[in-house]
């Protein structure tokens, strides 16, 4: 059985303006020790998916209206808050995007590490402190023992992210969810953080979900990729297969939008963008959500009437589209719809 199975997840936000269907159909599995990259543009629902897994969505106004999140066979959506608290940090850990604000500025770094250890592993103060030093060393923070008593404002952004990571792996979780872990950091630091994550993942045999909007990061770090658009999972495949043979028009557009540095005349060519905007998630239409921006949508009016379902096009490669690349017989793209 897979470590994590997300089945038909729908998470909606019930606001005064209407019901925002932030996650409206996400399915995937993740095996032990593997890395899943979730990509998509801002607002596509990737963070909400992660928070839904952790049960960290704000309970009013949000609600998981449908679906299951099976972790080691146990449906997390059925657990109460106390049970979820036992899972979080211990078996599933999460780190967030902005390290500058993700640590409590009024508590010492040491405290923020030991509190997890003492909570989940019942360690004594001294044992927790020792372990915290070890953790800091594991994430390559120099002079760990002294720095334990520092406050976050004495750490740089990159170092704080390392501390976050240290806190996340403290209890040896089986799954680490990293929500844009490097986005807020300098480019030079980014790579190091990603390397660190990979190092730790191997060392602790963790599964990882890496959420990002950066295709390059995904290419480097993921074993499998899930592409999300407008709250839905639109394509899922092994990383190689996705990059070599993308099926969904959106994925193609994403890859097409990547700057190709090795091409000629790269300085003169413009970056390709996807025209249009993602749909409003309050009351989205009963149709393919990418339709309005899809170059192939005009061919078949089912795109404007029926929501395509997720189907396994070939082994290990799932698509939610009426016009996956393999099924289009060489029809040229028409921009706009």
């Amino acid at each position: 059985m897979a470590l994590l199975e997300v089945k038909n997840l729908h998470t909606h936000f019930f606001t005064r303006e209407g019901v925002v269907r932030a996650v409206d159909g996400v399915d995937f599995e993740l095996e032990r020790g593997r890395t899943l990259g979730i990509v998509g543009e801002s607002g596509c629902g990737k963070s909400v998916t992660a928070l839904s897994i952790m049960g960290l969505i704000p309970k009013p106004p949000a609600k998981i209206v449908e679906g299951q999140v099976l972790f080691e066979g146990r449906d997390l959506t059925e657990l109460d808050e106390g049970e979820l608290e036992d899972v979080r940090g211990r078996h599933i850990a999460m780190i967030f995007q902005d390290p500058m604000t993700s640590l409590n500025p009024t508590l010492k770094i040491g405290t923020q590490l030991t509190e997890t250890l003492r909570r989940h592993l019942g360690m004594s103060k001294d044992a927790a402190r020792k372990r915290a030093i070890e953790l800091l060393e594991e994430v390559h923070i120099p002079n760990a023992a002294a720095r334990l008593d520092d406050y976050p404002h004495r750490y740089s952004g990159g170092m704080r992210q390392r501390v976050m990571i240290a806190g996340a792996i403290a209890c040896n979780p089986k799954l680490l969810i990293a929500d844009e872990p490097s986005t807020a950091l300098d480019v030079t630091v980014q790579a190091r953080i990603l390397d660190l994550l990979e190092e730790l993942r191997k060392a602790h045999d963790m599964a990882m979900i890496l959420i990002t909007h950066d295709m390059g990061v995904v290419a480097e770090a993921a074993d499998e990729v899930a592409v999300m658009y407008a709250g839905q999972l639109v394509e899922r495949a092994g990383v190689q297969d996705l990059f070599d043979r993308p099926e969904h028009p959106y994925t193609e557009a994403l890859l097409g939008a990547l700057p190709h540095v090795d091409e000629e005349h790269v300085r003169e060519s413009r970056l390709t963008t996807i025209p249009g905007r993602p749909p409003n998630l309050v009351d989205p239409p009963e149709a393919c959500r990418f339709g309005p921006r899809c170059p192939y949508a005009s061919l078949n009016d089912s795109c404007t009437q029926v929501e395509p379902q997720l189907r396994e096009l070939r082994k290990g490669h799932w698509v939610r589209s009426a016009h996956p690349a393999s099924e289009r017989a060489g029809v040229p793209a028409e921009v706009g719809a």
């Binding site: 979080r88 780190i95 508590l107």
Partner: protein, 308 residues
Amino acid sequence: MTKFVVRRLVWTIPVVLLVILLTFTMMKQIGGNPFRQTERAVPASIQRNLERKFGLDKPWYVQYAQYVRNVFTFDLGPSMVLRGRSVNAIVKEQFPRSIQLGGLAMLFALVVGVPLGAVAALKQNSTADYSAMVVSNVGFAVPSFLVATLLIYFVSLKWGLLPTSGWATWRHKILPPIALGLGPMAYFARLARGSMLETLQQDYVRTARAKGLRWRRVVVVHVLRNSLIPVVTAAGPFLGFLITGSFIIETIFAIPGIGRYYVVSVQARDLSVTMGLTVILALIIVVANLIVDILYGLLDPRTREARA
């Protein structure tokens, strides 16, 4: 930290001098005769005697110098109206009561207000939240003298539970602090609620939850502590206000503090008492603010280090 405190204390001296100057100037401006308290005119010879006795016949700069000297030698002179009593004696006897009243009112405001605001924030938009905010609004809008009179009417008169006035036993010390502290309580409740709501949105709270910490710990260690900072900052000036602004409550509850006599002394033109009390009250506000700043430093380590 010590350097910080010492520096602040040294700054108190120019503040005090300024207070003396301003008060002195204002009292001289409003004129009036401290020796004529009733409609009976004071015969000229007696007026002269009295002015000589209290040094009012000297030029203004001599009088001013005298006051400055008084303050710095801690001998504030005799009262011009309460004959036979010195300002020092008045302060020594009656001031502690005002401090008690202010302190209790502050205690009430914090002990009731902060949890009220916290509960409202934690249960945002629930019945608990709305009722807490209604209570808070009422407490804020209703003037303290009305609250005082209503409390006396119902609690003392109708239900006979507590005495109507005075400050003798612990029973006397319940209603007045409530009347005085109700407004600040409402303010603190709103402040605490707002502050907590904001803190609850912070990323580090999300991190704490993601670490699986028990909610109670998250609230107490991560949320409350950081939410208290704006409350503490507001509390300082309030403490000063509570001690100095207790005039109405002291009058209604017949509490023999200095708040009541402070206002009376201005009306009666009791210059020495007015001067002395103003300086003391100014000092209290300075000290209250200092205490707040110290607390702030303790609560927020970033400020602590910036000061060192």
